[in-house]
């Protein structure tokens, strides 16, 4: 603000010398922020809001994805979603990923705390934990496909410690979602870890020193200094975890294609649109998922409101 009023003052001063010039200068100053915003806003509207508006429109039609004519059918697609129980049953698969996501948050928090203090090979460990997040999802899918296959890497490792005849990690319907959720944890833990680590490192060191003088244990330091300081990041991670679990796609799609009971809601949506040519119904499913994620985030915000003034 101080800088801005400074500019205005200078413009005024210039204006007093040569009349006429202040007006364009002031107009330029008003437009400037919009100019800066034009590109990102344009991209956002073009690639996010226009497609979403289109999708909402498709969801009220019986379009097959090809035909030139898009027949409006009113709320029929939505009625179909809520009257066919098998469409919602796939959300049970999300429970596996939700449990995985909580495990992932706990692990990430543990590693972030440990590695924020001086530990041997600290940077090396940080690199190792973050590395999977940098890998392409398709590559991860393929790597883990070989890892889980019968006689693959995992079975070979288990054989080394004497476990013969391991189960079919992806073939056994009671295990497939556990295997896939574990892959998901492996992949996304790095992101949570980096978020937590960044937050933890922004805590002033004086607090630890003071706590040490008071004779606080490591657990107490974590409980009363670190956790309250990063609570906002934890809240954000929780929202991401829940909405992520509802809309899991990449890993199961690449590894099993949704076969063997690993179908998630998004895979089901894709199949509805492109395998059964029901783009209208699939759009309605996507809209429902969007509303569901918004609802979950809203509920979460109500129950875990943003804490202000963390350490005050």
């Amino acid at each position: 603000m101080a800088v801005m009023s400074g500019t205005t003052a200078r413009v005024r001063a210039a204006g007093s010398r040569s009349p006429g010039s202040p007006r364009p200068a002031r107009r330029g100053w008003k437009i400037t922020p919009w100019l800066f915003l034009a590109v990102p806003l344009g991209l956002l509207i073009l690639f996010t809001y226009v497609p979403v508006a289109n999708m909402v429109w498709y969801s009220f039609t019986s379009w097959d994805g090809l035909d030139a004519v898009k027949e409006p059918v009113g709320f029929q697609n939505y009625v179909e979603i809520f009257t066919r129980p098998e469409i919602f049953r796939v959300f049970l698969v999300s429970v596996y990923y939700l449990v995985g996501a909580f495990l992932q948050l706990v692990l990430a928090m543990y590693f972030a705390t440990v590695l924020s203090f001086s530990t041997r090979f600290r940077n090396w460990f940080k690199g190792i934990i973050f590395f999977p997040y940098l890998l392409n999802g398709v590559a991860i899918g393929l790597v883990f496909l070989f890892f889980f296959r019968p006689g693959g890497t995992l079975d070979a490792l288990l054989a080394l410690v004497g476990v013969q005849d391991g189960p079919q990690w992806l073939g056994d319907p009671s295990l497939v979602n556990v295997s896939l959720a574990a892959t998901s944890v492996w992949r996304y833990m790095g992101l949570n870890f980096v978020l937590f680590l960044g937050a933890i490192q922004s805590i002033p060191t004086e607090l630890y020193e003071a706590a040490e003088l008071d004779g606080a244990s490591s657990w107490q330091k974590f409980r009363f200094i670190i956790l309250p300081s990063i609570s906002q990041i934890v809240g954000l991670s929780l929202i991401l975890a829940v909405s992520g679990a509802l809309s899991v796609f990449e890993i199961p799609f690449i590894m099993t294609g949704g076969a063997n009971g690993s179908e998630t809601f998004v895979i089901q949506t894709i199949n509805t649109a492109f395998k059964f040519s029901k783009v209208g119904l699939a759009s309605a499913m996507a809209v429902v998922l969007l509303l569901l994620v918004l609802l979950v985030s809203w509920v979460q915000r109500r129950f875990f409101p943003e804490e202000k003034g963390d350490l005050a």
Binding site: D67, L145, R149, P150, G171, T256, A259, N271, F276
Partner: protein, 432 residues
């Protein structure tokens, strides 16, 4: 005010550009007065830089002024069906299977009438609507199962089984007497499961599709759909397929069949040359790889459904339809594509390929499906889409395999009953 001017100027310019596009060059000099550049969409990523370029060199001996550019697409079916929504999908392309027959005129240029073309080409009914042809097959395929005859011979079987039970017994014998996996489903890649459906007609005859669409319960004993799907079910339920279907791999399966680690896969004759080629890398003899007809006989003869592969069509929005047509005609009649692929030539009266030697030996009848009557061209796809039973996809056969190997809920009876009830409601819904 200024903004308004700019907007109208832009509109005028757009209009001009569009007109320029639509009246683009329709040919110039060269053979038959044809020239220009055409874009050809292809699914053959493997030969786009090699074999296809050789065809172009050959093509340009006749049409020196036509330049052909290829665009190879890995997920051809998925990508191109979405691209059809734009106007930019090349000049010559393979008609995606998801286009229903009544939609053909929306996207493709009519080539000629069925009556005019049927004297020259086979399989033209497959992409025709209201008497007009919209695509000509690049080659034809006979269907059945591809097998490693050496492995089958080790198990004591040298002739095609004639009943489903004999087929199961044969696989059983392969499992007992050899180290090979008797059958490989290719469950993970999914699309090979749809190959089962290509055998429609081998059991019910040329009218198979119409017969199915008239049935309330295609998945009951005596019907073709039941014959096909219950055979797959029994193969898997009998433990005759690979141990973990969820981690299969198509490219690897070709090597497994070539080397004799796998004995059988249901595929079309198009797969034979690819697996014979694999024998060179993994060891094995190309002559051991062959295709046999499905295990049932009609009028004391084996039946094999013969159909066209992807059909070449011309985009309705092509700027150079004459040159596109020249390439299409040349490709299906002059190029050696069908022979190179071990397929049946789309030209009437051409010789049958080496890959089908065994078909001649065992006296296999070739069946071509009768086209749907006018007004019912898309009835079949309307029913299976509505029922969400993807006859030509992988979803319901994966579920079938899951049930058969005890990984899914339900049993044989309940699974087929569910399919029947979904089919019947979809039929009723489409009756109006």
């Amino acid at each position: 005010m200024a903004r308004k001017h700019a907007a109208s100027a832009l509109a005028v310019m757009t209009a001009l550009t569009l007109t320029a596009c639509s009246t683009g060059d329709d040919g110039g000099s060269g053979e038959g007065g044809l020239s220009g550049t055409i874009t050809v969409l292809t699914n053959r990523t493997d030969i786009v830089e090699t074999t296809l370029r050789d065809y172009v060199t050959e093509f340009q001996k006749t049409y020196p002024d036509i330049d052909v550019e290829f665009e190879a697409i890995t997920d051809y079916e998925g990508d191109v069906s979405i691209r059809l929504n734009s106007q930019d999908y090349g000049d010559v392309l393979l008609v995606p299977n998801s286009v229903t027959k009544d939609q053909l005129p929306q996207f493709f240029e009519p080539l000629d009438t069925v009556d005019a073309l049927s004297a020259t080409y086979r399989f033209i009914d497959e992409q025709a609507y209201e008497g007009q042809v919209y695509g000509i097959a690049t080659f034809g395929t006979a269907n059945g199962y591809v097998l490693n005859k050496k492995v089958w011979a080790e198990a004591g079987i040298t002739e095609p089984p004639t009943t489903p039970q004999a087929f199961l017994d044969a696989l059983e014998a392969v499992g007992e007497k050899t180290d090979a996996t008797p059958y490989y489903t290719n469950y993970a890649d999914g699309w090979p499961l749809s190959q089962w459906q290509n055998n429609q007609g081998s059991f019910a005859g040329a009218e198979a599709v119409q017969i199915r669409d008239a049935q309330e319960a295609p998945w009951s004993d005596g019907n073709e759909q039941y014959a096909l799907d219950s055979l797959l079910f029994d193969v898997v339920a009998g433990g005759l397929s690979e141990a973990d279907p969820t981690t299969t791999n198509w490219e690897e399966s070709k090597n497994l069949l070539a080397s004799g680690d796998v004995a059988t896969m249901v595929l079309g004759s198009w797969a034979v040359p690819q697996i014979q080629a694999a024998t060179e890398t993994v060891g094995g003899a190309p002559e051991d790889i062959s295709i046999w007809p499905m295990p049932w006989k009609t009028d004391d003869a084996f039946q094999s459904r013969v159909g066209g592969d992807y059909k070449l069509g011309i985009s309705k929005h092509s700027d150079n339809k004459a040159a596109a047509r020249a390439w299409l005609d040349w490709f299906v009649t002059e190029s050696t594509f069908a022979v190179d692929e071990g397929g049946i030539s789309p030209v009437v009266g051409a010789e049958s390929p080496d890959t089908l030697k065994d078909f001649d030996t065992f006296g296999v009848q070739q069946i071509e499906l009768t086209p749907s009557p006018a007004g019912q061209e898309s009835l079949d796809s309307d029913i299976y889409n509505e029922a969400e039973i993807d006859l030509f996809g992988d979803q319901y056969r994966r579920a079938l395999i899951d049930v058969a190997r005890g990984a899914g809920s339900g049993d044989r009876l309940s699974f087929f009953e569910d399919l029947n009830s979904r089919w019947d409601s979809a039929r009723i819904a489409n009756d109006g």
